[in-house]
């Protein structure tokens, strides 16, 4: 009696686990299909470029404030923390290198992507999810307008274009924040701050690699947000869950991709 109920419970657990795994793989395949469809339809949306411009305004321009303010604080904290350790070794002039390299290589792309997922990704998911709930997407299909060309592709390209710009801004503003703390506040030599930075930051290796990272993160974050919106069950609860999933999956994907990209870039 007890044995059979235990067996049933274990079997149910395994079945649930299997169903979840199959669901995940299903969603992965559907996401890949949406990605290829987006690429396929993007020619059409590039011909109506004002749609992309509108989305750049909503995803990129509207994210400027949060990006700039957080970059400023991240840079200032980096300078403070870096100085604390570096001055023990008598090399507080290297603070410029520390701030610049950590921002340009890692924090710029990664923190921007995380903020972007929270600020713009959720908006995209909620908007598309609500469009689906209110049957706007079906109405478009009815009028022989492809929702992928009209809704998905412009948002995708807007995200891909915005992300490198935001990440570059993040790095630059962060370095300015670090400069403000290091030079006027702590009293590190102004010339040493910049010259050490210039001697150790390479354009090709550090800045371009950071740009490549942010481009990849832009594709990943935007695609995840679009797919979650497109895939959301057409209910209030479904949209809210999809929005949450966007943030969680985007953040994890960005951090995982960052490791992979860094390992590729540093080996060479």
């Amino acid at each position: 009696m007890i044995k059979s109920t235990l067996l049933i419970a274990v079997a149910r657990m395994l079945r649930g686990l299997g169903a979840r795994m199959i669901d995940r793989i299903w969603r992965l395949g559907a996401g890949a299909r949406l990605f290829f469809l987006t690429i396929f339809y993007s020619g059409e949306s590039f011909r109506r470029f004002h749609l992309i411009l509108r989305e750049i305004y909503f995803t990129g321009v509207m994210s400027l404030l949060i990006i700039i303010v957080s970059a400023f604080f991240v840079g200032m904290v980096l300078a403070l923390q870096g100085y604390n350790t570096l001055q023990k070794y008598g090399s507080s002039e290297a603070i410029g290198v520390l701030v610049a390299l950590s921002l340009v290589r890692e924090l710029g792309p990664v923190v921007t992507a995380l903020l972007f997922a929270g600020r713009a990704g959720t908006a995209i998911t909620a908007e598309i999810g609500l469009m689906k709930t209110t049957e706007q997407l079906s109405a478009m299909e009815m009028m022989a307008v492809s929702p992928i060309a009209r809704v998905v592709a412009p948002r995708f390209w807007a995200g891909v274009i915005s992300m490198p710009i935001l990440a570059t801004l993040f790095s630059m503003v962060g370095i300015l924040g670090g400069y403000l703390v290091a030079v006027p506040l702590i009293g590190v030599d102004d010339g040493a701050f910049w010259s050490q930075m210039q001697a150790n930051v390479d354009f090709r290796v550090d800045i371009v690699d950071g740009l490549i990272k942010s481009l990849v993160f832009g594709v990943a974050c935007t695609m995840i947000a679009l797919f979650e919106g497109f895939d959301a069950p057409p209910t209030a609860e479904g949209v809210s869950r999809a929005t949450t999933r966007t943030v969680v999956i985007s953040s994890l994907t960005v951090l995982g991709l960052d490791f992979i990209l860094t390992s590729f870039m540093l080996v060479v």
């Binding site: 305004y57 710009i165 570059t168 370095i175 210039q198 001697a199 550090d206």
Partner: protein, 186 residues
């Protein structure tokens, strides 16, 4: 084509991004530091350049006056030939001394130029003959250890007398054996 406010904002956004990239390239990266206006090229041969790299600064009296252009190996003389570009504004005598120094204990390596007293100045394509190699830390440490080891060898002869004296006093077999092992030349 009608212009909208959104166009303006997107334009501002893209311009900001461009400005930031330009700032990163010019102010943070080393894209500009490689060219310092018109330069003339001089070469110098070193037996060992240590970890000197292209784009490393060339300093005189602590002021950057040029950059290392390239470092090549001369297969016939087995030495490193370093090409350096010096700012056209600064002229150096022909017998200028080129050293490879290290900034701080663990810092980057750079070339220091010490001006000589010659009347004629270095011209484009000239060769600096007086050079001093980079200090290789391992070499210095091994030299130090060797000299320390030879010091301890010469020191060790004196304390060996003591066990001999104690061994004679006690007369035990083990002690005499220890003396034999301890100083065979005695």
């Amino acid at each position: 084509m009608d212009r909208t406010t959104i166009d303006l904002w997107v334009g501002v956004f893209v311009a900001l991004g461009m400005a930031a990239l330009l700032g990163l390239a010019m102010k943070v990266g080393n894209l500009t530091s490689a060219n310092i206006g018109p330069t003339y090229s001089v070469s110098a041969a070193f037996e060992n350049v240590g970890s000197l790299k292209p784009h490393a600064p060339v300093k005189s009296a602590g002021v950057v006056v040029g950059r290392v252009d390239s470092i090549n190996f001369d297969g016939s003389k087995f030495e490193a030939v370093v090409k350096i570009n010096i700012d056209q504004r600064y002229a150096f005598p022909k017998d200028t001394f080129a050293n490879i120094y290290t900034a701080g204990l663990l810092g980057e390596q750079y070339i220091g130029l010490e001006a000589g007293g010659d009347e004629a100045n270095l011209k484009n394509g000239d060769k600096i003959t007086q050079t001093q190699d980079a200090i290789v830390l391992e070499k210095m440490i091994s030299q130090f250890l060797f000299s320390k080891a030879s010091e301890t060898k010469s020191d060790s002869k004196e304390p060996d007398v003591k066990p001999l004296a104690s061994a004679k006093a006690s007369g035990s077999k083990a002690a005499t054996k220890a003396v034999e092992l301890g100083d065979p030349g005695f």
